[in-house]
């Protein structure tokens, strides 16, 4: 019996450690992502992700970001010249490329963006970003 409860305790400790590790990682990505956002995105998209008139789209369209989760890394890296619809409004001004950002930066940046401005999507992992980047159009 003693042995059994000891095993349970060990499992419990390991589980919490794992959960905490995940949470620590998320916090670290989010914090670094905020800094990356400031230097790479904020000039255009604004400190509150509200964009600029009908020229620069806001980052507040939760359903767009959720639906296009697998496209976001490509959009940030290579920019976009297509017309997109955000919050029911069409935007067609070109977004420039940001090829200076490596996958780990993108993971942190997108973790920040998709968990700010009213979004709540959780962590972006580097492996997920690398997968998405392979399928860029």
């Amino acid at each position: 019996m003693l042995y059994f409860s000891f095993t349970l305790l060990v499992i419990a400790i390991l589980l919490t450690a794992c959960v905490n590790e995940e949470k620590v990682k998320y916090t670290r990505y989010f914090t670094d992502g905020a800094q990356l956002y400031k230097t790479n995105c904020q000039n255009c998209h604004g400190a509150n992700g509200d964009g600029l008139a009908q020229l620069i789209p806001p980052l507040t369209d939760t359903s767009f970001l959720r639906k296009n989760r697998s496209q976001l890394a490509c959009i940030v890296t290579y920019g976009i010249a297509d017309t997109i619809k955000i919050n029911g409004q069409t935007y067609n001004f070109k977004m420039p490329a940001n090829t200076n950002l490596v996958p780990i930066d993108l993971a942190k940046l997108l973790t920040y963006v998709t968990n700010s401005f009213g979004n709540k999507q959780g962590l972006y992992d580097v492996s997920e970003i690398e997968n998405h980047l392979k399928k860029c159009r």
Partner: protein, 216 residues
Amino acid sequence: MTFKQKIFFVLTICAVFVSCSSSNKKLPIYGEREAIKKMINGVEVVDTLYQTIPKFSFLNQDSVVINNDSLNNKIYVADFFFTSCPSICPIMKKQMLRVYEKFKGNTEVKFLSHTIDPKHDSIPVLKNFSNKLGVNSMQWYFLFGDKETVYNLAKTAYMSTSYEDKAAPGGIVHSGYFLLVDKNKRIRGAYDGTNEGQVNQLIDDMQVLLNEYQTK
């Protein structure tokens, strides 16, 4: 005089003093200046000749010619930008939009945004940009002109810089200043268009400048 009367007297003096000092507030005049001698009624007097914005002629987003004469009897704010600029322009445009909203519909106030990338920013591109920004093309002009002319105007008239540099984001370096020009085409203020505090100062100063013309 009773005590009450004394207090009233002092307060009145104070009020007069405060109101006088605020209505006398004037903006400085920037640029080179020189003393010139001229004859008025046969008497030689010394006057000051101030630096002014030289003659220019550009097309706006509606393909309408805009020159010095279009700005007679107007005060205006000028800046230099390009539509594909990823660095400071969106911040500047956001701030300029704030100033525009404050003076929207005021016939004495105009806005001039000179593109420094005429190769990309054709008149239709500027028109689309101004539409998307949601501004009136009768009050806010997006001006298209020969690159050398615009760069030169920025440098000599507005004391602003812009030049090409492949290493810079977007390929062009330029300063983010908003220049305030009075009805006599003299520069009365320069404000960092990326700094919210300085742009607030611009809004206050524009009101001060407009008041200068009202008292006469």
